[in-house]
């Protein structure tokens, strides 16, 4: 047998490992900061760049794409080479993958802080960065598939299948969700509007959880867990079974994020059914992981790596049990929009992703630096601090979510809301927010302990950049009779990829835009496009990510129609590029806020919310009162909106700025009558115009203001 000598590329693993650690600390630090800001709004230091709405997406993107993302790459680049017994396909692609990904992260961080955002959750990056992500992701994909094709091991271990599924699905999700028309280099509108945009967004959002936070990590579990415990996976058969069932079911569960919204009922039910089915494959993975340690539990006692894995896999099991339960409409009615959801998410992220990454790093760093872990004791301490932090994070948030939801829904015996003032329900749970921020801080402290430990480990070891290895070449089957057919059969992945790319490009370019734009045509006659000033105000709402804390979706419950007004109809959102339904009510819903308060109220409220609502936890927005509204893009925005099917008359773009000024002067005059002197060209005027317009298109009886 012909034994070939080659080497594994550890340099790339090292780079991704370091990036994982650094971004982990950054992302978690921002998370801790916003956890404090939520009850101490002055912690934004009165700077717009550090206000909650701007840095909350920074936190989510940093931990998901920077921390977990680099963790995936580190884990995959190490394990894939060993599983295929080959060096990575191309060192150049590896480098492009690494540096491109870090550049993307920096670009994301800078733009979010500056308020350049699409407002779509977990996909807030603007179009140039979206293109960048797609290119880097494909570079990663080619590198991975190339490595698989030149493998020296005929059998593809189950982890590799998880990696492949991750690559293909994330590519499709990202591209479909990011179809947008640029207004300028830093601003775009998605081609989808309202309900459609919400559906696409949560199809993406849910599957980002599925194929970025779950499948790659299951792949990593199937490699690093057996390695750490030094015994084979409990059932290889089960791993195959649960892999295929997981990927076939996961992609249909997205609509469970939109239960009781304006999405058609049948689509909601579809989401629920598939979400329930997901329990089986998810628990297949969890049990397979835990049972691998069967008979070796004594090793967990003195092996910190295994400790991390055990709690990570258990957290995975809990989160994947809770997920289907939350997809039941009756449970969702209670949990949605509350702190229950962040609690659920953080069991998954802090527990499953975080702890598994830590465990992997404690195993990987000594391996590639060819030494032993610097301190087992510190690693064990980290484990306990992190686990404690996790519990202290999630338990108060479950409590808070349930408490607040019950308060929202509580009626007096006379049939009026028991807590008509939203703020009262917020103040009730502030102590829970305080405890949560302590939990988050603990988790961060644990991670800092890890940095020290890993640094010392690397210092005492000697890094092996190119690890020598040898393996027999894969024997090629001699069968060249049906050339092209055999070629495809032997390269199913290559074939699948080519087909994916071809169909995606064709579909996107020709079919989707026209198809979708046509279907955005209104269904409620009284719903009119936004005026130029309202449109600019809406873009300020997007810039400040108001939708991080305020929903625009009144669900058809009596407790909500009493509080907010008529429930939201799908037809009201046909000009909303993008939709701003939100997913969390840290503050009240705003869909029917139009006309509820005076212009003066909004002005003073934005200047300092505590002037109007003593005790409010909303940050102040003084810069909106000072900054001039930029109308340079207004003309272009109207043009792009018309292109997307919003019926602005031909040539209206030339009149837009003049119209905008007239409307702004009207609002400034009204404010002047209330004793507030403000120039009509300030941003606050546009924002007030938008807020006063919200939900006023359909003629409904306004909810009584109590």
């Amino acid at each position: 047998m012909n034994v070939e000598k080659f080497s594994y590329d550890n340099q790339i693993v090292k780079l991704f490992t370091i990036a994982t650690v650094i971004w982990g600390i950054v992302g978690m630090t921002v998370g801790v900061l916003i956890a404090f800001q939520i009850y101490l709004p002055w912690l934004n230091f009165d700077l717009q760049y550090t206000t909650f709405g701007r840095i909350r997406p920074l936190h989510t993107n940093a931990v998901i794409f920077a921390f977990v993302g680099n963790g995936i790459f580190a884990g995959v680049y190490y394990s894939l080479q060993r599983l295929t017994k080959s060096r990575m396909f191309s060192d150049l692609l590896s480098k492009i993958n690494f540096w491109g990904w870090q550049l993307m992260i920096v670009a994301v961080a800078v733009t979010y802080v500056l308020g350049i955002t699409t407002s779509k959750e977990y996909a807030e990056a603007e179009w140039p960065i979206d293109i960048m992500i797609a290119i880097i992701w494909v570079a990663f994909g080619i590198n991975m598939i190339g490595t698989i094709l030149k493998r020296r091991e005929k059998h593809m271990y189950v982890a590799i299948w998880f990696y492949i599924a991750t690559f293909i699905t994330v590519a499709v999700l990202h591209i479909v969700n990011s179809i947008e028309i640029p207004v300028s280099l830093t601003k775009s509108y998605p081609i989808y509007a309202g309900v459609q945009d919400a559906l696409v967004q949560w199809w993406y959002g849910h599957n980002a959880v599925a194929f970025f936070l779950t499948t790659p990590y299951l792949g990593l579990m199937y490699y690093y867990l057996p390695k750490a415990v030094n015994r084979p996976i409990y059932s290889y058969r089960l791993s195959i079974l649960h892999f295929w069932s997981l990927i076939f079911i996961y992609i249909w569960a997205g609509p469970h994020h939109l239960l009781y919204s304006a999405l058609p009922d049948w689509a909601q039910s579809l989401g629920t059914v598939f979400s329930l089915m997901l329990i089986a494959p998810s628990w297949g993975g969890m049990l397979n992981g835990l049972l691998t340690i069967r008979g070796a539990w004594d090793r967990v006692r003195d092996n910190p790596v295994l400790k991390f894995y055990v709690v990570a896999i258990t957290a995975y099991g809990m989160a994947t049990f809770e997920g289907p339960m939350l997809s039941l409409k009756n449970v969702n009615a209670l949990a949605h929009f509350t702190d229950w959801i962040p609690a659920h998410v953080h069991v998954g992220t802090l527990g499953w992703n975080g702890l598994l990454t830590f465990g992997m790093l404690y195993w990987l760093v000594p391996k590639i630096w060819n030494t032993n872990l610097f301190s087992k004791k510190l690693a064990t301490a980290h484990f306990w601090i992190a686990t404690l932090g996790l519990v202290v994070w999630v338990v108060p948030m479950y409590w808070a979510g349930l408490t607040q939801s019950l308060m929202w829904k509580e009626f007096t015996p006379l049939g009026i809301l028991q807590y008509p003032n939203f703020l009262e329900t917020v103040l009730q749970i502030v102590p829970m927010y305080v405890i949560r921020s302590i939990g988050g801080s603990l988790y961060l402290v644990g991670a800092i302990v890890m940095v020290y430990n890993l640094f010392k480990t690397a210092q005492q070891g000697s890094f092996v950049a190119n690890e020598a290895a040898e393996a027999p070449a894969l024997i090629k089957e001699n069968n060249d009779k049906f050339n092209s057919h055999r070629w495809l059969e032997k390269r199913p992945i290559q074939f699948a990829l080519l087909a994916t790319v071809a169909i995606l490009i064709g579909g996107i370019v020709e079919f989707i835009p026209t198809f979708l734009i046509k279907s955005n045509i209104p269904t409620i006659e009284s719903v009119k496009p936004y005026s130029p000033l309202e449109l600019e105000g809406r873009d300020i709402y997007i810039r400040e990510s108001c939708n991080s804390c305020h929903s625009q979706m009144v669900r058809p419950f009596r407790s909500e129609t009493e509080r907010y007004g008529e429930y939201s109809k799908a037809g009201e959102f046909v000009y909303d590029h993008p939709h701003l339904w939100g997913s969390k009510r840290t503050g009240p819903d705003l869909h029917r806020v139009g006309g509820k308060f005076s212009n003066m109220w909004h002005y003073l409220h934005m200047q300092n919310p505590r002037q109007m609502s003593p005790g409010s936890i909303m940050p102040s927005y003084p810069w909106l009162l000072e900054q001039k509204l930029n109308t340079e893009l207004t003309l272009n925005k109207i043009n792009v909106m018309r292109m997307l099917g919003v019926p602005y008359a031909d040539g209206y773009e030339n009149q837009a700025v003049a119209d905008l000024q007239v409307q702004a002067e009207g609002i400034a005059d009204d404010l002047l009558n209330s004793g507030i002197v403000v120039e009509s060209d300030k941003e606050i005027v546009a924002l007030i115009a938008y807020l006063q317009r919200l939900g006023t298109d359909i003629k409904v009886k306004p909810a009584e203001n109590k």
């Binding site: 017994k85 699905t169 459609q196 559906l199 290889y236």
Partner: protein, 58 residues
């Protein structure tokens, strides 16, 4: 609601790609052996290092 058709289309497409991959995997004998792969992956370190590991364990 044409977006939903698009999404179903893309989801089905992804599912079909996976189905194709699954059929290939079964036909090409990837799953003929459902046990040894799980053991073999434990021995993918190079010789020098695995000897060292043995030494460590003793």
């Amino acid at each position: 609601m044409s977006a939903i058709l698009v999404l179903i289309g893309f989801s089905l497409f992804v599912a079909l790609v996976f189905l194709g991959a699954y059929i290939w995997a079964v036909k090409s004998g990837q799953y003929d052996d459902k046990y040894t792969p799980s053991v073999r992956m434990l021995f993918d370190d190079n010789k020098i290092e695995s000897e060292k590991d043995k030494h460590k364990n003793t």
